[in-house]
């Protein structure tokens, strides 16, 4: 078992998930240290443009990886069964459901990435810097869900490849047992996948935080199937020796090696930590995520697009540190710094998401629901649906806005905001003599939000 003792990730996953292939991002990746991102270089517009490129870069990488996984799934489905009708495509179609499960994941990931494209597209045409930021931040939950969903999809594809190999090469392994095992693995992944697919910021983050532990469980499941296959082979004294079989399994060319290898009897040493090196985040001499990826992440973390816990989880998973019981789940300080973590970022994250109990504050549609159709006719659909444009306001803020006393404020939230914004939009449209474009509307809304001091930070609300 010593051969599989190395805590290794194959280069395949890294190429799919982490490395930067976007040559165009090179120029701004090299020149931008943390200070520059914090605002000393360029105006908010240039920083927003760099953030947008980072979003696009990460989305493209995830898209590339999921595309590859989808092709692996098709290949598995199309591969004719082997001897004794064994293989994922054989067995009277009993295993087809597992392949379908993978395809369903790849579909929602594509959908999430589609939303990211829409939002970055709109952001690129938006002149209001604050609105541009707000739109880029809206990509966050989608991007994070897609990143982590792609990791789980890679893992699932690995399980399917393993199952296919076991079915074909290891007739002593019971088909029923393998079926039960795959169903159990699917069940383990299910809650996390559901949370990710919801694209809800808080659920995605909770799922992300728990993901290293899940990956640890999956690693043990993977190891247990491998071990079971080896034992079955030994008992039957099959043609291949057990050792040869294990080697063959690890050589299955399509295996993504998304999971770290089970450590030898001794638990993984905490001393083998992640460090920030010149090439990226490293374990020993091995790069687990590239410097370009770290740079993109740093930018996104500092812009408030993605959160530190999510990036930390991704790095730990890539680093194979899913078996270590790190109570805090924290990365070493050097790596955290490189990823843009810091008190300011944490504070921003808190205010943006849940600061001062704001996560409990009721959500209000900025674009009034009663006029949903009007907005739909002007392009507010899909990722730009008016339900995506909600803000959280404290009850106290409401009462304050309701005013009273001898100053008849004449503006009450949300009723009066609705009336005001619709009047501004409709009268502007009448004045322009044509339908307002989606960007026109965002431009007016951004100006009015500033006028009312409504925080330009959107969270999805519920459709009613």
């Amino acid at each position: 078992m010593k051969v599989v003792a190395l805590l290794l990730l194959s280069a395949a996953l890294l190429a799919a998930g982490c490395s930067s292939r976007a040559a165009g991002s090179r120029e701004d990746a090299t020149g931008a240290g943390p200070d520059r991102v914090k605002g000393t270089a360029g105006g908010p517009r240039q920083i927003a443009a760099r953030t947008r490129r980072a979003v696009v870069q990460v989305a493209d990488e995830v898209r590339g990886a999921t595309g590859e996984h989808a092709r692996s799934l098709s290949a598995l489905a199309a591969r004719p069964p082997g001897l004794g009708n064994r293989g994922l495509s054989g067995g009277n179609g009993a295993f087809t459901r597992f392949i379908d499960h993978g395809s369903r994941q790849s579909r929602w990931i594509d959908g999430a990435l589609g939303g990211v494209s829409t939002l970055t597209g709109v952001a690129s045409e938006t002149t209001e810097a604050d609105m541009q930021w707000a739109l880029l931040r809206m990509t966050g939950p989608r991007l994070q869900a897609a990143m982590l969903g792609a990791l789980l999809l890679a893992t699932w594809v690995d399980f399917l490849q393993l199952a296919d190999a076991v079915l074909r090469q290891c007739p002593a392994y019971s088909v029923e047992r393998l079926f039960v095992e795959l169903r159990r693995v699917q069940g383990r992944m299910e809650p996390t996948l559901t949370a990710l697919a919801s694209l809800d910021a808080e659920r995605v983050e909770a799922a992300a935080t728990a993901m290293p532990e899940l990956m640890g469980q999956l690693t043990r499941e993977f190891g247990s199937i491998q071990e079971g296959a080896r034992v079955a082979m030994e008992r039957r004294e099959q043609l291949l020796t057990a050792m040869q079989f294990m080697e063959m399994l690890t050589l299955v060319s399509a295996l993504k090696m998304s999971l770290p290898r089970l450590p030898p009897a001794a638990p993984a040493s905490l001393g083998v930590g992640l460090v920030m090196g010149s090439g990226g985040v490293m374990v020993g001499s091995r790069v687990v995520v590239s410097a370009e990826w770290v740079e993109a992440m740093r930018r996104l973390v500092q812009a408030g697009v993605i959160s530190v816990p999510v990036v930390s989880a991704a790095v730990r998973i890539h680093g194979g540190q899913v078996l270590m019981a790190q109570a805090s789940g924290d990365l070493p300080p050097g790596v955290r710094d490189a990823l843009g973590d810091g008190p300011e970022v944490r504070a921003m994250h808190e205010t943006g998401r849940a600061g001062a109990g704001m996560s409990e504050a009721p959500r209000h549609h900025v674009l009034p629901r009663e006029h949903r159709e009007w907005f739909e006719q002007r392009g507010f659909t899909g990722a730009m649906d008016i339900d995506q444009f909600c803000v959280r306001l404290e009850a106290a803020q409401h009462q304050a806005i309701h005013g009273g006393g001898n100053w008849r404020l004449g503006r009450t939230w949300p009723g009066e905001w609705n009336r005001m914004i619709m009047e501004a939009l409709r009268e502007a449209e009448a004045e322009a003599g044509r339908k307002l474009t989606r960007n026109n509307i965002l431009n007016i809304v951004a100006e009015r939000m500033k006028f009312y001091d409504v925080p330009m930070s959107f969270t999805p609300g519920r459709r009613r």
Partner: protein, 156 residues
Amino acid sequence: MTGGRSWQGDWKARLCERVRERGYDSLTAFAEARPAIPLVELAEELGRDDIAGVQVLSGLLAEAEQRKQVTRFVRDVLVRQLSLTLPDGWPVVMDDESRFQVAKALGCWSADTPDTHKDRVRQARAALRATPPPPGWRPLGPDDELLRTLLPDEEA
């Protein structure tokens, strides 16, 4: 002006206090000393993080009602809106973008006008469409001549 702090606490008291601190006995006097400055900028001067533009608007309206100068107030709101949206004055070239900026300014003006004056503002807008102001027009206060013909005082 991005944290929503403007609505915490007693914002009216805060607004009055800031005006007095700056040596004015009314918000109107404070605003008159800063003609054609957008309301968001007045708000920023009074409290960078805790006064909203619409609160200044609301305070100015309350004072205008007491002084029976609402029409003048409505003209002043347009002046400040135009300086925000069209800082270089009325567009010289009416392309799609400048037409939108004009539309935005006038749309917001209507929305900020009290119900008592909405009809008159609508008529004023129609007059502006029929006879556009000269390119570069940039009213510097509520007593601008063109504005006073568009929306003459009634209260006097």
